[in-house]
Amino acid sequence: MTSSWKDWALLIGFSAVILCLPILLEPIGANYPDLLQKIAIFGLFAIGFNILFGLTGYLSFGHAAFIGIGSYMAMWSYKLLTMNVLPAIIFSTAIAGLLAFAIGYVSLRRSGIYFSILTLAFAQMMYNLAYSVLTPLTNGETGLQTRAIRSDPNQSLLDGDIRVIDQAFGVEEIGVPTTNFFGMAMSGYTGFYFCAVILILGFFIAQRITHSNFGMMLKAIKSNQNRLNYTGINTRPYLITAFVISGMYAGLAGGLMTATDPIAGAERMQWTASGEVVLMTILGGVGTLVGPVLGAGLIKYAEQKVSSWNEGIIADFFSFLPDGLRDFMAEISSLFVGEGWHMTLGLMFMIIVIFLPGGLMEGFRRLSVLFRRPKNRETMKSATIPSTKPGESIAPRAAE
């Protein structure tokens, strides 16, 4: 069918872009492993979040809890079992799924903002506890880090690891070892490609879900949950499943964060972190497949690069200008970059939502409409309902 041909094309295109990111992002100075890893990881997180928020319309404000639990689980896997990331990310995904089931089961008894506040409350409780009384498990403010194998069995597990599997295989360690995937070090570009492959896998699964009968039910829940009940659907298990799936994506993302950078801190669970993924999704385009990844990339880029443009760099940038004008321009731009990067972020949110309701993907859709004469009725109509209709809309247009 045509639509499935389009799906494959999108998947292949997406994969190609992700795998070529190190080259594609070079002109904007974003071609270094850490930022690329972060884009892939948060892209995955946002894709998963979109399965809940984009498809069902349920806005969770506590998804950072799953990132957090995923990170902690992975860290404990490194500390207790092995530095191989495979068991770590399996644990983080599975445990995050269990936690998501528990939280979802309770929170999904309510809808709308009541649901949002319930998820927020659970995540904030976990954050506060992880920061203080759960320090024996989380190492509190400092964060859980891997250590050298402990020599003294009385030493706290926070300060010395045991790594039974690695020890059983007689892996030699000098100092604190780094994470690996069957011997491949998970830092640098290897780490990025590892994350990228998982991101593509996650994208593929999200695409399948979106275009499945299950996904159609989720979209129907968003559209008119009440009506769906009267057509014989029990919406609650659908919602719980969607919540668990998105929680597992978040847990996996948390696991990957530690895989590329082995540390887990409580602040990952703070409400600002939950808010960040909401912003990424809305910024890119709620309910689209590509949008959330785009939003994640943009926000991470702002955080990493825009914040680094200090006065020296600005001055260089404007060095072609005459002295007075250069100082003036530098002064103006310093409001928005370097320490002022928050201002850029805030303005970006406002401008995009004001002029592009539906996020960046809506912008691309409008651009493509500009270039292709809007000949069929559908494009015209979909333009009036912004929230669902971007370029690669999730709603499969069964084109016969």
Partner: protein, 448 residues
């Protein structure tokens, strides 16, 4: 505000080929970082060397971060032979000549830690991977310092800690690639307790309010340990949530507890709020057990203390350095910083400035930027003239040992910067402890 604009203009003039350096930095594989034969990560190519300044630029500590950045820029100027040279002139080691480091012009990149471990590590990684920074320095909280120190160990660059006061930084979380100039809670306890005893007597009941996270506990433990040794009694030690904002529910029980000293193990905004509110509750006007009620803030920061306004008058605490010191080094630094920015530097600025000088000097003496060699030349290094009297960079834990300042909120401030007056300079010998006391292991150096 005018000083900001001023600053901007000056910073603009000082430009480097940083962008160019960033573009030239080829992508690295973390595991095989060097292909140029130097044998260590980010070995400087060409005639510049890039340092990474990782400070909070957003969030509660943004002003402190801005002050650190000012100090860094000043230090870079002085290393490159611009400006008046500052503490380079008073520094006991004369290896630095004001012509850069090892003949290379010093350049820098900056990043925002947001006072979050994740963000701080990400921004440090950017500076290492993308901008080719050979050393990372900065930060204004222990959580961030420990996180970034761990990263630098993995990445194989030197980390020169900024403001971090927790024991763990050079205790159980110490790393071979990490060095700290700032003091810690152990030294605060050792220095402060005798002064408190002299001022308030040995028969005192202390009530601790402690920020509920690692640094707070560390601080509480040290103060308790040293005051109890001198005969004080600890009535209660209550944990308060980080960022509690309103501390009234923690302060009211103090009134009735029979305690006559309140110890606020808070820093930053928590300190500002808890102190302001404790004073509002009339604690300082009270008489308990026939003695005047007292409040102690073990770690003072002048910058933050501004937020507490009038409340800090007469309050005891400790600090790493204060601009009112009269020694040659401090005077030179205050003069050079004050001339450039129009106000005196904070203790955070001082420690950051010193760290850059110490790093550069060590590189010069070692003849290389290679972390293992450079680190060894810092180990056991004795120096003077950087504002703290004679200082030792101890080899066993990469911690500086120096005199500790016990200060008091100024009763009659001469200017708005004159918030703290030095009560006593506790000599280094009194705050020294055995390296094993705080545990941890440095491990081997990592060159990348």
């Amino acid at each position: 505000m005018s000083d900001r604009n001023d600053l901007t203009r000056r910073r603009v003039i000082k430009s480097g080929a940083v962008a160019a350096a960033g573009a030239a930095a080829t992508p690295y594989f973390f595991s095989r970082a060097f292909a140029d034969g130097h044998g260590y990560r980010n070995a400087p190519k060409g005639d510049t060397v890039t340092l990474g300044f990782n400070v909070p630029q957003t969030g509660a500590y943004a002003d402190e971060g801005a002050d650190e950045l000012r100090a860094y820029e000043l230090a870079v100027e002085h290393l490159n032979g611009e400006g008046d040279g500052g503490m380079l002139n008073t520094f006991s080691s004369k290896a630095l000549k004001g012509n850069g480091v090892l003949g290379k012009k010093v350049d820098f990149v900056t990043g925002d830690t947001q006072t979050k471990s994740d963000a701080a590590r990400a921004s440090a990684k950017r500076m290492i991977e993308n901008d080719g920074a050979i050393m990372i320095t900065g930060g204004s909280s222990s959580g961030v310092a420990i996180a970034v120190q761990g990263l630098c160990q993995e990445a194989g660059v030197i980390f020169m800690a900024g403001l971090t006061h927790s024991n763990d930084t050079t205790g159980k979380d110490k790393r071979a690639n990490g060095f700290r100039h700032f003091f810690n809670t152990e030294m605060t306890g050792a220095a402060l307790a005798p002064v408190l005893k002299n001022a308030f007597g040995s028969d005192r009941n202390a009530y601790h309010l402690t920020a509920d996270y690692t640094w707070g506990w560390s601080q509480e433990g040290s103060i308790q340990k040293y005051t109890e040794e001198l005969g004080w009694n600890t009535t209660a030690a209550v944990r308060t949530p980080l960022g509690a904002g309103d501390f009234s529910s923690f302060i009211t029980p103090v009134l009735d507890s029979g305690a006559d000293v309140l110890v606020l193990n808070h820093y930053g905004k928590d300190m500002v709020n808890s102190l302001t509110q404790a004073v509002q509750f009339g604690l300082r006007d009270k008489q308990v057990n026939g003695k005047d009620f007292q409040i102690v803030v073990p770690l003072f920061s002048r910058l933050m203390a501004q937020g507490a306004g009038e409340s800090i008058k007469g309050i005891y605490g400790s600090t790493n350095w204060n601009w009112s010191l009269k020694d040659e080094g401090s005077q030179a630094f205050v003069k050079s910083f004050g001339t450039k920015y129009g106000f005196p530097p904070s203790q955070a600025a001082h420690t950051c400035y010193s760290q850059v000088l110490l790093y550069a000097d060590a590189a010069e003496r070692a003849g290389t930027f290679m972390p293992s060699e450079l680190g060894k030349s810092l180990e056991g290094f004795e120096f003077d003239g950087l504002g703290n009297g004679p200082v030792l960079y101890r080899a066993e834990d990469h911690q500086c040992f120096k005199d500790v300042l016990v200060v008091q909120g100024a009763q009659n401030p001469q200017s708005k910067f004159d918030l703290l007056e030095v009560v006593e300079v506790t000599p280094r010998s009194q705050v020294e402890y055995a390296p094993e006391l705080l545990g941890g292991e440095l491990g081997p150096y990592n060159n990348g």
